[in-house]
Symmetry: C2
Subunit: 147 residues, 2 copies
């Protein structure tokens, strides 16, 4: 398996924190890594798009050539193949639903709002997306209200 990532990004960190929590021995499971430079556009190449259906990192390439995008999907895959005594996604029906609920609330009402504030205000990716400063400021206000 090979993980395409940029270690400093929130989504890649999420996978890496999850792997640490699982206590996986990366050598034992044959996990390799490749770091991409997003600002230089490594993720915009045809070669990368061929392995990443959403054009984003992280991507996990399995040994049979299949690939998985989306940090939570990658975490879920590692959780499933490791089958820990206590899953980080919950063990009982209620726990599984509660993990899903809180994860979505944190993402939809926190993380993604903060992402939109960051991208629209800093315009860090204005070479590849149109930014709307007023929306960035609105999102910034929402995140500040929630803290």
């Amino acid at each position: 398996m090979k993980l395409y990532e940029l270690a400093m990004t929130p989504s890649a960190r999420r996978v890496n924190i999850f792997l640490k929590e699982l206590g996986l021995d990366e050598q034992e499971i044959g996990l390799k890594r490749e770091s991409l430079n997003l600002r230089a556009g490594d993720n915009l190449s045809d070669q990368f798009k061929a392995i990443s259906v959403n054009g984003r990192i992280p991507v996990l390439a399995l040994d049979d050539g299949q690939t998985l995008c989306e940090s939570v999907a990658i975490c879920r895959y590692f959780d499933e193949i490791t089958a820990p005594a206590h899953s980080l996604f919950g063990d009982t029906p209620l726990e599984k639903a509660q993990v899903e609920m809180w994860q979505r609330i944190c993402e939809l009402q926190g993380l993604f709002v903060a992402f939109q504030a960051f991208r629209n205000i800093t315009k860090v990716y204005e070479d590849r997306e149109r930014c709307v400063e007023a929306w960035g400021q609105e999102c910034s206000g929402i995140v500040n209200l929630a803290t």
Copy 2:
């Protein structure tokens, strides 16, 4: 169990389609329903906020008083307590990760972008949120590009 919803909304429809796919007998599992009028602000009451941690519908209230928000969390709960021969969330580690991946891609790059276009352009909830027309138009363009 009681499901608080507004049947016409996308999130409530998502749960209801899922229940149909599971083939659950709602009477048999003791599922009741209560419809809320969102435009009239039923979801803004203290009574509703006490059962909905994100202030949104749908909410599933369990018989012991615990409540679950977020449509996908509610779907996952029904999937788990029903334990169908083939889970709609996938059966193998790879299937489970693929379902998670595609669900997130459809939501993050499609559904939620469309929601933002709708809310910021129509200003349907401007009594409770600030709308940024330019962001709505940008989102509308992104969704149209993707179709």
